[in-house]
Symmetry: C2
Subunit: 203 residues, 2 copies
């Protein structure tokens, strides 16, 4: 692997655990297995290294899309949520850390929140389509439901290990359960072919 990438990877690891101030150039160099001077020769400064880190991170964060023509909303949204949740779980330490440093270094957290922001918009669009074609009841509070689902995904990803009492479901089943409850809250009708979701609130 390129030495640049090795340093960035190491910086990510150290930063995720110790934060910006705790991620000393010494620690990063050791983790990367290079000399500390090499770090400065490659990036110029610690600040520049972290800029590069953020750039490569957002570049490597894919946001899945939802189909233009919904067929099976529950299935499609579950798959979509699972992908996002998996990605956030992988990066949970880094997300937590950068989020926690918002007061000190806003840029980091802002660039990290682009993903969820964008995901929320994709989901909202999808739900509007569902409403338009009559697959969701017209009175559902889409913005609120989207906020809740996005919060649930983020919350699960970053605080499951801290507050296990709040997240009793196993990791693997979480996305399906969030989507199921979300759909009931929104009044999305289950697709005919699938098992009934026993609606008590709907029409």
């Amino acid at each position: 692997m390129d030495i640049r990438d090795r340093i960035i990877d190491a910086a990510k690891k150290v930063y995720a655990q110790h934060g910006f101030r705790g991620a000393t150039t010494r620690l990063i160099a050791i983790e990367a297995g290079v000399n500390e001077v090499t770090l400065f020769r490659t990036f110029g400064s610690k600040a520049a290294l972290f800029e590069a880190l953020m750039q490569t991170h957002v570049a490597k964060s894919p946001i899945p899309t939802l189909p233009n023509s919904p067929v099976d909303p529950e299935l499609e949204m579950t798959e979509w949520c699972a992908v996002i949740l998996a990605h956030m779980r992988e990066n949970r330490s880094m997300i937590r850390t950068s989020f926690g440093e918002i007061g000190d270094r806003p840029e980091a957290a802002l660039s990290m929140s682009e993903g969820p922001n964008c995901a929320g918009m994709i989901l909202t669009d999808y739900l509007l389509r569902l409403q338009a074609i009559g697959m969701a009841s017209a009175d559902g509070d889409i913005p609120t439901a989207v906020a809740m689902l996005m919060s649930s995904i983020i919350g699960d990803a970053i605080s499951r290990d801290v507050m296990p009492g709040v997240f009793p479901q196993p990791e693997s089943e979480a996305p399906a359960k969030y989507v199921r409850t979300f759909m009931r809250g929104l009044g999305v009708k289950p697709v005919r072919s699938r098992a009934p979701v026993h609606s008590a609130a709907g029409d």
Copy 2:
């Protein structure tokens, strides 16, 4: 105000913005308007100061209860959520910071998460009571719904200012909207006697 409390208050402020490493004794002393030496004379060390800080913080964090005999679930839960949300919004910087330092200083975040953990249990108990007396449909996925509502409250409190696109509702209306969607997702029937809550969901 007692000099001890003044220092703790100042430390809270500085810590919330700069984190543990960034909250230098110098900054804290300036913020408190005392000499830096006084800080060491009063608490002995920076670590001891932060222990005291966490103690007074959790001591001052009240968790509202929910009635043993539910009458109007929507009203009761909205009020309950509003109190929790308000408290978390007030302390959002501190929550974010301590949460972000979980890798480095787990104790802080763990003692901060006691509140939400406990709140989740209170809410779960309440919902089980609702189910038991037939005010909520028996097939609702309570653990999932609780996780989603708690995540929504925490998410709103700590990331509304970072991801405004995800939280389009005004702050004041958020609790009611979360609870409304939550109740639909759980299959809690709206109470008969109340003014129509813009219901298209209930009969």
